[in-house]
């Protein structure tokens, strides 16, 4: 079972990498890029029947640092 976890910096936490990407897009001539936020996507290959609660526990304990990051779990 493939489960995808999206991890993003929380709103209000400065994302200097996203900001650098925004600048670079502007330098390439792409106008109107008002903001870029960069996060990560983690694909998990899990045993059938793994519960969403288990995946949330994985996020809380390791995959995301909830001091600075939020996460979203996409179950199949």
């Amino acid at each position: 079972m493939k489960v995808t976890v999206h991890v993003m910096l929380k709103t209000g936490v400065l994302d200097p990498q996203g900001e650098a990407v925004r600048h670079a897009l502007g330098a390439l001539g792409f106008d109107g890029v008002n903001g870029v936020r960069q996060g990560k996507v983690i694909e998990l290959d899990l045993a059938e029947g793994t519960s969403e609660a288990d995946v949330e526990a994985m996020c809380e304990r390791l995959l995301a640092n909830t001091v600075i990051e939020s996460y979203r779990v996409d179950m199949p």
């Binding site: 910096l9 936490v13 400065l14 200097p16 390791l62 001091v67 600075i68």
Partner: protein, 222 residues
């Protein structure tokens, strides 16, 4: 004083930290990340700088979940002393022993230079060798040293006099110029700058020496 210095795969300041503790009079034992217990009678644990587990996932995240870190957290929870430097500070925030988190430097660059710090409090067994307001020169070497904490946490740190050091000229975007913080019980110190790299005349500066001498003196006396 008996010190234990933790070694993770990718630690690279472990020996320097051990040398600084020894020079201050401590007996030092190295502990491996797979060890489940600290050596008996350890007064202080040093969590060194480096790139534990290649900084995979987040700096310090994998190390924070290693067997030895459960023992380090239990030591801190019992009121034991812990000094985390650079990657060690990141590990301590990831374990939740210290509040906040370390983000990528605001300028995105790895910074390796000596910076000036202001000592924000001397009310600590680590810091009483300095005076409040003293300015000291300590090297930094990090890519992710941008200290972040939410407003409530920052005001709690300020209210509790838990800010140990601030940058005189903020190099990395840290909230409130914070370079190092103390735990509520003042026995855990986490800092991005490397006092162990300014602890010998050969280093070109000795401003970090007072920190090791202070805590060694305190723990020997106790």
């Amino acid at each position: 004083m008996k010190a234990a210095v933790v070694v993770f795969p990718g630690s690279n300041c472990d020996r320097d930290l051990a040398v600084a503790f020894k020079a201050a009079g401590a007996e030092v034992e190295m502990v491996w990340h797979k060890d489940t217990d600290l050596p008996a009678g350890v007064d202080i644990v040093g969590v060194p700088g480096g790139f534990s587990f290649g900084d995979y996932l987040r700096c310090g995240a994998i190390a924070a979940n290693s067997p030895i870190c459960r023992a380090v957290k239990a030591h801190a929870d019992r009121g034991g002393y812990v000094l985390g430097v650079c990657n060690g500070f990141q590990v301590l925030t990831e374990t939740g022993v210290l509040p906040g988190a370390l983000l990528r430097n605001a300028g995105l660059k790895y910074i390796c230079k000596t910076v000036r710090l202001r000592v924000e409090t001397e009310m600590s067994d680590y810091l009483h060798g300095y005076g409040e307001g003293d300015e000291i020169d300590i090297p930094i070497a990090h890519h992710d040293g941008n200290y972040f904490a939410d407003k409530e946490t920052l005001s709690r740190l300020r209210g509790g006099d838990q800010i140990a050091f601030t940058y005189v000229d903020n190099p990395n975007g840290s909230c409130d110029d914070i370079a190092g913080i103390l735990s509520e019980n003042r026995r855990v110190l986490g800092m991005m700058p490397h006092p162990e790299r300014a602890a010998d005349l050969g280093h070109g500066g000795t401003d970090g020496q007072a920190l090791f001498r202070a805590v060694a003196g305190q723990l020997t006396a106790a």
